[in-house]
Amino acid sequence: MMNDELDKTIMDYVDGNSQSIDDTVVQEHAKELKQLVADLKVMPHEQPNTTTDNKLYQFIADTSAKPKPVIRLKPWLPISLAAASVIILLIVFNTGQSFENEYRTLSHNPEKLNYIYQLNTKQLETADIHWLQAELQNDINPNIKVAIVDLLAQHQLKLDEAFYKSLQSQSIPSVQMAILNVFETATHIDVSNELLDFTVRQDLDSYVIQRATYILSNQ
């Protein structure tokens, strides 16, 4: 019989579930347990290590002697945290800001021109091209218009009819000429009608009409 089974038989007897213990092996085991309990009762109590005690007392003494640190917030800290949170939110929500929306916030010609020039380093989607084509009609400053045409010329395959039709609404010779230069290299779209419409205008500079006629003759 295993010790576990011996213990269970003894516990049944102690709990009153069994009236007697006949098995001598069980009786012997019970005697051993009785002796073990008797030995435990006379064992001296374990005392804590005095070295550890001393360290503990010293720690308590040091802690009591030192002033308790007080957490004091600088008055500007909550404001700074709030401002930082707002900035982070703005950055997060502005991630999807379109070039067009950013451009709309600019009011001075120099910053508009800088912005258009910096788009040379950006990936322009079809929507951006459409916006720039429209801006060519809307913007007043000719230097900005020429910069837009210079930018769009690098995305010629994405240009649609709207770009070529915009020639007709331009009145400044240098802008007309910049657009005509893009006409000259247009291979993906037939622009001869736009050129024809343009060349009948009566208000064109002689240099511009000469250039338009040349491009038309080479279409």
């Binding site: 010609n109 120099p110 021109l113 800088n114 020039y117 400053n141 000719p142 230097n143 020429v146 910069a147 210079d150 400044i172 010779p173 240098s174 000429m177 910049a178 230069n181 500079d205 240099y207 511009v208 250039r211």
Partner: protein, 253 residues
């Protein structure tokens, strides 16, 4: 002796006539900029350090080419202030008449000139930026500060700068004529060069370019377009120089 006396009197009278012809604009001292619109005629603007020296002299030339300095510009020029901007506008021409303007203005003011028909433009010592749109005639700018956006159709552009704002662009665009920009030697710029026809590029600066520049410092008119992106002194704000027909020069001041 009599001849000398007569000459002196004539000079005094001439000077007096000229002085009287000046229209005082000092009542507009509080404006932030001057916006000039003219049709035919030269526009000559000189920036001055004094805030009180703000005036205009106008010379009218009729269709018979007879010129007179206007003692009273009423009927020829209008002055209007809107949003702290002074608008000086010439009347729409009756035939081939022209009005030449000579303006002294405080040099802290911004200057914008639109020349709808033709004439030469000269502006010097304007420190707070200029924007010019001209159809026929040359544009010469001297000691311009902050920035310049110049567009011309038929005429060369020659612009020299001092005390530029390095975050502002410069754009000099003409359809027909050469373009010259003279910059402080330490200027740092991103350069966009376009010369479609009959061009070469002349410069004192070392240009770092994306590709070889045709006829760089070679005075030979190219039959091919010269289109380059380059940097001056490591790059910076934009310097956009463009002509459909003519050379480009970038000089050190």
């Amino acid at each position: 002796m009599k001849t000398i006396q007569i000459t002196v009197i004539a000079l005094v009278l001439a000077l007096s006539t000229y002085t009287n012809a000046q229209q005082d604009l000092s009542q507009f001292n509080a404006v932030s900029g001057v916006y000039i619109t003219s049709y035919w005629g030269d526009v000559n603007v000189k920036g001055v350090d004094s805030k009180n020296e703000f005036n205009i002299t106008a010379t009218y030339t009729n269709t018979s080419k007879k010129a007179k300095t206007l003692k009273d510009v009423t009927g020829y020029l209008t002055f209007e202030v809107k949003n702290k901007k002074l608008f000086i506008s010439a009347r729409a021409p009756k035939g081939f008449e022209s009005i030449d303007m000579a303006i002294n203005l405080p040099n802290h003011l911004f200057l914008e000139i639109e020349l709808i028909k033709g004439g030469n433009i000269y502006a010097s010592n304007v420190k707070n930026g200029v924007e010019i749109n001209s159809l026929n005639g040359s544009v010469k700018l001297d000691r311009i500060g902050k920035y310049a956006l110049v567009n011309a159709a038929n005429g060369e552009i020659n612009a020299s700068f001092s005390k530029l704002n390095n975050s502002y662009p410069i754009s000099l665009v003409t359809m027909n004529g050469g373009v010259t920009a003279t910059l402080p030697k330490a200027s740092q710029r991103d350069l966009r060069l376009i010369s479609r026809k009959n061009g070469y590029v002349e410069t004192d600066f070392t240009l770092s370019s994306d590709k070889p520049i045709i006829n760089l410092n070679v005075k030979d008119y190219s039959k091919h377009p010269i289109i380059n992106t380059a940097t001056i002194n490591g790059g910076g704000s934009l310097l956009f120089l463009s002509t459909e027909n003519g050379p480009i020069a970038i000089k050190k001041s």
